[in-house]
């Protein structure tokens, strides 16, 4: 967007324009953030600028699990006490956080960095699928847990991976799909209910 016509100093309008590129930041928010930064103490502003640079300079993708990290291999991949026979496949690096918070899962991860989305022209080659397959060649892995989101595209990706990995003879599991904790049966959709019925457990 062109906001050149605003009669402000060039560094100011430049910063406004940079903020405007961020997701969820409209022209007004960009202006407000900029004027807030102008009043900020010198050292705080410098700390912010350095933090942004550090993220760009130091953050890389882990060569094993493709998670974002500042050391290669990442903390999870070289962590002690990790179960190296299990790999949990997730769509985005952010998906690892809630899984780690459970403290239930001790295996490794693999981040696909996206999901197959034919309508947007995103195919298997745009994801980190080759990297996953080469990890499975070693023979150390006994189970692959598919933890893509339970929507149409996540399911399609899971089914696609299933076709690639089944011939390798590795056990594959999919996260259970059913009613979330605190849910209300009245509002449950039929797909969720069918899955919940199919996966019911003896108590």
């Amino acid at each position: 967007m062109n906001i050149d016509f605003v009669p402000t100093a060039q560094p100011v309008s430049r910063l406004i324009e940079e903020f405007h590129k961020l997701p969820g930041i409209g022209p007004k928010t960009a202006q407000r953030l900029t004027y807030f930064l102008i009043r900020m103490p010198q050292e705080e502003a410098r700390a912010l600028a350095e933090a942004i640079l550090a993220v760009k300079d130091k953050i890389i993708l882990c060569s094993i699990c493709q998670n974002i990290t500042d050391s290669d291999p990442c903390i999870i991949c070289c962590g002690e006490g990790r179960d190296r026979t299990k790999i949990c496949v997730v769509e985005e690096p952010l998906d690892i956080l809630p899984l780690e918070r459970t403290r239930e899962y001790k295996g490794l991860y693999h981040v696909l960095h996206g999901v197959i989305s034919p309508m947007d022209g995103i195919g298997p080659d745009d994801l980190k699928i080759k990297e996953l397959l080469s990890r499975l060649q070693g023979g150390e892995v006994e189970e692959v847990i598919l933890a893509t989101n339970p929507n149409l595209e996540g399911e399609a990706t899971a089914m696609y991976l299933q076709r690639l990995i089944t011939p390798l003879g590795i056990k594959m599991t999919r996260l259970a799909r059913g009613l979330p904790f605190g849910a209300d049966l009245e509002y449950a959709d039929e797909v969720t209910l069918i899955r919940a019925l199919q996966g019911r457990q003896e108590v």
Partner: protein, 255 residues
């Protein structure tokens, strides 16, 4: 009189884009209002009351509130979630292709009830039929008919004479078939075999029950697919994106 603030409609979800913290921007196809976008708030939270009813390619009954710019979905109830589609990679990819065609060919807020009905029926047929590709060709031909692009398959576009039972030529630019003589002045044509022409005529003129009885050989199926693809690409003036994934899936099945 001012339009009421809330209204109800059925809809098929054609497209979903994440928006903000937990919202989604959905592209809906509806019987009376055509295609339009609406916001579904909070549906990405696991405990959302609407989330599961607004998945891609779900047929739902909705209540919407008029917004300043985009309308907001306030209630939703699934009518059909086309469950067999979701467990089958090939069928769900074909359904995505069908939805993409409708999305690409339609403009916002243009009502087209026959097309809505066609898409709805096609999603249902894709759940049960054996020959899914035949259904797709049927869908494409009917879609073009409902949009005003029905190809002329009985008479030559050039000389208006009845087509001879021989290999003729399909012209995407003319939207129909040319006889071998008239084809000479038309550079962008594709040969169409007699069998392909007959099947296209039959699909175009039949309802689903009759059309679904056709059995296609693999070669004929490929020929029809290629003809339809060229024509559709010509009309849209761009690629249908999900085609690439379909080709890839098919390639891997054979390999």
């Amino acid at each position: 009189m001012r339009a009421p603030k809330v209204y109800k409609t059925e809809a098929i979800v054609l497209k979903c884009i994440n928006l903000g913290e937990a919202d989604k921007l959905l592209t809906l196809y509806t019987p009376k209002r055509g295609k339009f976008s609406a916001i579904a708030k909070g549906v990405r939270r696991p405990r959302s009351k609407m989330g599961g009813h607004l998945e891609l390619l779900t047929h739902s009954s909705l209540m919407l509130a008029r917004g300043k710019n985009l309308d907001i979905i306030t209630q939703s109830q699934t009518i059909s979630s086309f469950l067999p589609l979701r467990g089958d990679l090939w069928r769900s990819s074909l359904a995505i292709y069908a939805a993409e065609l409708v999305d690409q060919f339609t403009a916002e807020h243009v009502e087209n009830y026959p097309l809505y009905k066609l898409l709805l029926n096609t999603l249902g047929w894709l759940c049960e039929t054996q020959d899914v590709e035949l259904i797709l060709r049927y869908f494409e031909l009917k879609l073009l008919t409902h949009l005003g692009y029905k190809p002329e398959l009985h008479r030559c576009l050039g000389c208006s004479s009845s087509l001879e039972p021989t290999t003729n030529f399909f012209s995407p630019g003319g939207g129909g078939v040319l006889c071998p003589r008239c084809r000479e002045n038309e550079p962008l044509t594709q040969p169409i075999s007699l069998n392909a022409l007959k099947v296209m005529r039959f699909l175009q003129d039949s309802d689903y029950t009759r059309a679904s009885r056709v059995r296609l050989s693999a070669a004929l199926s490929r020929e029809l697919e290629s003809l339809m693809r060229h024509y559709i690409r010509y009309l849209l003036e761009r690629e249908v994106k999900s085609v690439e994934f379909l080709d890839r899936l098919r390639g891997e099945v054979i390999a």
